[in-house]
Symmetry: C2
Subunit: 158 residues, 2 copies
């Protein structure tokens, strides 16, 4: 099981945006974190599609959060970047091969799929229990504010 590397970047970007007094350009977010501009742009687009961030056009454009950081959970960000697909995909093995169960015995999900889904729910619930605001409280946000207040004017969003 492996989460997209973009999850880490996206969460850190949201923490920065939660402290920013103005829109932060994508390129600036990449430089602040020392990550690839093109790769990060893709993840910011995923965050925008999920309506977690929004690009602001114009001279002082960049990305902003769409709502207070206390209302954005880590799960929201993970789901936006990593996708909503379940980690476990049941291929209905119970209906294959010599042991194949008849369709009438397969109207409810397979027990294996249920156990996997329960575990994934526990994972999602745990991630949903922490907000970007909670995370920001653990970072040296004065440093973020100092640097993000330094956004050069004229940089384009996205």
């Amino acid at each position: 099981m492996k989460l997209s590397a973009g999850v880490e970047w996206a969460v850190h970007c949201c923490v920065v945006l939660s402290q920013a007094a103005r829109p932060v350009p994508a390129a600036r977010l990449a430089d602040l974190h020392g990550v690839s501009r093109s790769y990060l742009a893709k993840h910011l687009q995923a965050l925008a599609k999920a309506e977690i961030v929004r690009p602001v056009e114009g001279r002082d454009g960049g990305y902003v959060l769409t709502r207070p950081a206390a209302e954005i959970s880590v799960h929201d960000v993970v789901r936006a970047v990593d996708g909503p697909e379940p980690a476990f995909r049941c291929t209905e093995i119970r209906q294959q091969g010599e042991l194949a169960a008849p369709p009438e015995q397969c109207r409810t999900p397979c027990g294996v799929a249920r156990v996997m889904a329960d575990a994934e729910r526990a994972w999602r619930r745990s991630l949903a229990g922490t907000s970007i605001a909670d995370l920001a409280a653990g970072f040296d946000t004065s440093r973020i504010t100092e640097l993000v207040g330094d956004v050069p004017g004229g940089a384009a969003a996205g």
Copy 2:
């Protein structure tokens, strides 16, 4: 996030082995589930390496569980097949780029990594709460017993 497809196969095989009166050859396990023999062999080897199953050599050889099914959790099987690596790999973004925090502020794990690790623990704990015996109770085990009692003699293990 995506789990290896072999996880589903391996769990179903363990359920079958929990009902088998004798060793079940790898090829037979593949045919019972309608899955690739060569691909399943790899997963059975992973289960053997994790000491969940054990090959029995000889004329009536095959795989057996190493301990009662009630003592094998779904998590044991998932970990054996999917590996013990965490789904989230922290790359210490907090120490990169313009926002890089000084090493003395990074002696404990990053808050992002902590949230991810907590969620993964919740996932693993949930999987650990169900045993192969629990799962078998939800299957039509009479059908398994019927077919697994039919293992042809002389098939080799593994």
